[in-house]
């Protein structure tokens, strides 16, 4: 008797908890879905070929976001070009060469912390460090983004370096290969997936970044060319979104940009998952 009433109580508790959890899942899903659908509904009708293929003119009042698209592409490329060698190099050094585990630990902890800092602080520092020296420019923006994304690239590369089996390294050393040859021929090919994942995550982060760029890359909507235009200021899509919505009240354009960014983000997330799946499959042969 006693047992039965107890288990009844327990069962009631279980059901209640399950219901609460279902509710939170439902709410989360509903919120995400609402946001997606709302932005797409508001944005897509405003996306026209004209919008994405022309530049704006203050004389005619015409709005086009081609310069912003190009600026975004330029900043993504420039950032990756700088951050990749730095981040991958640092990761290789830390996992393969560094012998002082304490120092490695401190650097890893610092990187972890660095990636949690609000981006507006990066913007502030980037402004003092880069914009004040090379002027408000895409380059200054890219340099700021390099600092922001360095920990991401470094950590993802490190993580995948650690998954390369020690037995591969032993096998190569056992054949008389030197350290660098082992790293280049056996270790690096095994961490390509980590590097690609890191890149994809970084691109997503760069696309979404506004605070750090407001300070450093500026608001210009002028057409620039890569790489000479890197010295001039320019707005990325996210910054342009802010400018059009906040300063010009062009909410249609802002939502169009938002929809574009959202679709890109979804694509990037899919790409990251696909890359990881692809490499996991190859590892299991």
């Amino acid at each position: 008797m006693l047992n039965r009433s107890l288990s009844k109580k327990r069962r009631g508790y279980e059901v209640l908890m399950k219901a609460l959890m279902l509710l939170s899942v439902g709410l989360t899903a509903a919120l995400v879905l609402f946001l997606l659908v709302y932005v797409l509904i508001e944005g897509i009708p405003n996306i026209t070929w004209e919008l994405i293929s022309t530049k704006p003119s203050y004389l005619t009042g015409h709005i086009g976001i081609l310069p912003d698209i190009l600026n975004t592409v330029c900043i993504v490329i420039a950032t990756l070009l700088i951050v990749l060698p730095l981040g991958v190099g640092a990761a290789i050094y830390l996992t393969e060469y560094a012998s002082n585990k304490k120092v490695v630990g401190i650097i890893e902890y610092a990187a972890e912390t660095l990636s949690g800092i609000p981006s507006i602080i990066y913007g502030l520092v980037g402004m003092l460090l880069f914009s004040n020296n090379m002027g408000t420019s895409l380059m200054a923006g890219a340099c700021t983004l390099v600092i922001m994304n360095l920990p991401t690239i470094m950590r993802t590369t490190q993580e995948s370096l650690k998954t390369v089996p020690q037995s591969y390294r032993e096998g190569a050393f056992g054949l008389g290969a030197g350290k660098w040859r082992v790293v280049r021929t056996v270790v690096l090919p095994g961490c390509v997936d980590g590097v690609i994942t890191g890149c994809i995550l970084s691109v997503g982060r760069i696309l979404g970044e506004s605070a750090a760029l407001l300070f450093t890359a500026g608001f210009a909507h002028t057409m620039l060319t890569f790489p000479t235009g890197m010295k001039s200021p320019g707005a990325t899509l996210t910054v342009a979104l802010y400018v059009y919505a906040k300063e010009q009240g062009e909410f249609g354009v802002a939502f169009a940009i938002a929809a574009i960014l959202m679709v890109l983000t979804v694509i990037i997330n899919f790409a990251a998952t696909a890359v990881q799946k692809h490499f996991e499959k190859r590892k299991n042969i």
């Binding site: 591969y168 032993e170 096998g171 056992g174 054949l175 008389g176 290969a177 040859r181 056996v186």
Partner: protein
């Protein structure tokens, strides 16, 4: 019969823990020497010292004198990579690289500066033949080596070690991860190879030691208890501990 490797008063520490205690041994040329002893007695540690694979582990300290063909392997002017080319290694778990069969075998020669295609082709074919796996893989040299069975992978690893033309082959329980058929193929192969190479093989399987080895060294708790011709060790051990071990009283 001359000795390829001479070890005098060798001790090894992993940090504070002493894993090898005062070992003296002379490894005879072109023969098979088996290292036996219970798990954790230092067989692998000692084996890895012979081609300085322990250099890779931080905190290892080694004292004593190890000579390969008369030269001190810890001398300052020794090129470790050349030492490992002379003294090759086969590991407990087959560890082919995740690349083609051809590239696996060519890895060592390429490391040591051979780039000519015809030369590499020849080395690959010869090494695979010597490791008795050529017939099984000759039609799929460009396929990934990870697609081979465990036994094939281990013979591939032996072929890979042979490809750099070593004089000594260190094998750390090369058959412990394999089925009986693959095991006996490797044993046959090893018996074949001793015509050309000096082989040192760790084994936890005493029948295997009896079947293939000419000399046997019995390790216990980091010490070399007894070393001699295999038939002597197994028929009339001098040390009580050896006798206890080979009669299965512990281990």
């Amino acid at each position: 019969m001359s000795n390829v490797i001479n070890v005098k008063d060798m001790c090894l520490w992993y940090g504070e823990h002493q894993a090898i205690k005062n070992v003296n041994i002379e490894i005879p040329e072109k023969s098979i020497t088996a290292f036996i002893g219970p798990s954790g007695c230092g067989k692998s540690t000692f084996l890895k010292t012979l081609n300085r694979m322990n250099d890779l582990i931080p905190g290892v300290k080694i004292t004593g004198d190890i000579r390969y063909e008369g030269t001190d392997i810890f001398a300052k002017d020794i090129d470790v990579n050349n030492l490992r080319k002379e003294i090759g290694m086969v590991f407990q778990k087959p560890n082919p690289f995740p690349m083609s069969i051809y590239d696996n075998i060519a890895y060592g020669p390429r490391t040591h500066g051979i780039t000519k295609k015809t030369e590499l082709d020849e080395i690959v074919e010869n090494s695979l033949k010597r490791a008795a796996i050529w017939d099984e893989v000759k039609d799929r040299l460009k396929k990934n080596a990870l697609g081979l069975s465990g036994g094939q992978q281990q013979r591939l690893c032996i072929a890979r070690a042979l490809a750099v033309d070593p004089k000594v082959l260190l094998m750390d329980e090369p058959t412990s991860a394999l089925d009986p058929i693959s095991t006996s193929r490797i044993e046959e192969l090893v018996l074949d190879l001793k015509e050309t190479y000096t082989i040192v093989m760790v084994t936890h399987n005493m029948q295997q030691a009896v079947r293939v080895s000419d000399y046997t060294a019995f390790f216990l708790l980091g010490e070399l208890v007894e070393f001699g011709r295999t038939e002597d060790i197994f028929s009339q051990p001098q040390d009580k501990r050896t006798e206890d071990y080979i009669t299965g009283r512990f281990g």
